[in-house]
């Protein structure tokens, strides 16, 4: 095919050059650094009890937070698309707050709220429930960070779903709940799972909002990114790199899953239209 528009070589060339310089070559430095380790050294760095405990916390908390966001993100998206109420535009704009608010600010704000003397924390304090400086705090911070991912992936798909299908279901005698479960949910499922995976991926890498509220006790409330920072501060570059490679591998896998989910969603959208 002859290309009518000029600029293909220039733009693609610049894209590849910039991508290589900023992202690919630096990331390859990480991989090469890992190869300087022997297998035993690598394993000792990535599978020590303290590091294993941090994986459990990081992946567990990210999973719980993403599940909470799956439910409440869908609820918020549903309410924003299907109902009208005063202040809806403001609420819609506020959904993006976690994207726009620096993570460190979110971290200290949530800590101030949830600590024993904070607005929310003091409600729970008398019952012996601690919300900050433990695993609960980590989950709450990750819920804050992940909310927009689910809302913003589900919202446009929900807007595009066809009312006719729902009307048909109602005509055929389905209750509203059945219609939701059998007609609406299957249509938005790929988007919902994409949002879940995005929130999960973000939760695993998150650092700024978590470290203030986590308390950072080794074996208990220390997240994996903090392990990397800790090793760096002790000049253990090889150990930090090994743990970073584990996180990076997991990011790659999640990125592939998210891509597959988005392809599924596009096929679904193409099939309906």
């Amino acid at each position: 095919m002859r290309r009518v528009l000029p600029g293909f070589n220039l733009t693609l060339g610049y894209t590849l050059l910039y991508l290589s310089l900023i992202v690919l070559i630096p990331l390859s430095a990480l991989v090469f650094k890992t190869f300087t380790l022997s297998w035993e050294q690598f394993w000792a760095a990535v599978a020590s009890p303290r590091v294993l405990a941090s994986y459990r916390l990081t992946f567990g908390a990210a999973l719980v937070a993403a599940l909470v966001n799956l439910v409440f993100g869908l609820l918020v998206a549903w309410v924003l698309v299907r109902y009208s109420f005063p202040g809806k535009k403001i609420v819609d704009a506020l959904v993006d707050l976690p994207f726009a608010l620096p993570t460190a600010v979110a971290g200290i704000a949530l800590t101030a709220l949830l600590a024993g003397n904070g607005w929310v924390g003091q409600i729970f304090e008398p019952y012996g429930i601690q919300l900050a400086f433990n695993r609960t705090g980590v989950v709450i911070a990750l819920i804050f960070i992940g909310l927009p991912f689910v809302v913003r992936t589900v919202q446009p798909v929900l807007e595009d779903t066809e009312k006719e299908l729902e009307e048909a279901a109602m005509c055929l005698g389905a209750t509203r709940l059945q219609t939701f479960g059998r007609v609406i949910l299957p249509a938005i499922l790929p988007a919902l799972l994409t949002g879940f995976a995005l929130a999960f991926a973000r939760g695993i890498g998150e650092y700024g909002s978590v470290i203030f509220i986590a308390g950072n006790m080794p074996m208990v409330s220390e997240i994996t990114p903090l392990i990397i920072i800790g090793k760096l501060e002790q000049y253990d570059y090889a150990g930090a790199t090994a743990v970073a490679v584990v996180l990076l591998l997991f990011s790659f896998v999640l990125l592939l899953v998210i891509n597959a989910l988005q392809a599924w969603q596009r096929r679904r959208a193409g099939g309906v239209a």
């Binding site: 000029p6 910039y18 994207f99 726009a100 993570t103 704000a109 913003r152 219609t179 999640l254």
Partner: protein, 299 residues
Amino acid sequence: MISTTESPWVRRTLIGLALAFMALFLVLPLAAVFAEALRKGWDAYWAALQEPDAWSAIRLTLITAAIAVPMNLVFGVAAAWAIAKYEFRGKAFLTTLVDLPFSVSPVVAGLVYVLMFGAQGWFGPWLAAHDIKIVFAVPGIILATVFVTFPFIARELIPLMQAQGNDEEQAAIVLGATGWQTFWYVTLPNIKWGLLYGVILCNARAMGEFGAVSVVSGHIRGQTNTMPLHVEVLYNEYQSVAAFAVASLLALLALVTLLVKSVAEWRHEREVRAAAELPPERPHAPAAPSFPLPSKAAP
């Protein structure tokens, strides 16, 4: 009667639940920033913002964003042009690579630059011999910021330009416009709101980045502390009012970002609607239906 909505009380309960969740998780933390900043009154607030260290942090943050955002702007436009306007092998893979920095932990992003430019890194000895400091200095902070904000503008423009297709640009070329003229007079007016939205989000993240910058900064007070890092230092020194005062500036930045973003979205929707109402001789006006779907799909 058949209806495709819920009974009023179900509706009210769902709205109530959603709003309560939003209030608890989004509004309260935002309010807490300003409440904590003003806990000891306006005088303490102003005093905290007039600290020389706070000023140097603000200056460094502005410099970082002023370099990182234009770099990613040029890249974003080039990448979107290449990916949206042409078909070539490996396009899907390239798009995935552009998204890669989104899924890399900020701490890992900082680490890779330490491995490249740190004292024990690839270029460490050469840099030391030539007395150039990148890591634990301003260039490292800028590089780490460029990495974490890398996909924002490209991500915003690719679906938008794909939805708009090539017809208008091809018409301009056929009528004798040069490539630059086509971009400037045809493409740019079509993508301006998406571009603005991408730039403003990229800027918010560039000014607020914490994890990646924290790894490469070296935390030298008054020299290599950006605003978020300065917030951390003050917070860890139990200077709560000062920490939240600097944080409140970043929170204001976030609110401005949300405002500009909303205005850009409303303007774009209005233009799409206006174009849709045009008579049928102009069937290739900005395509409305497919734009919001992919552009919102990946933040």
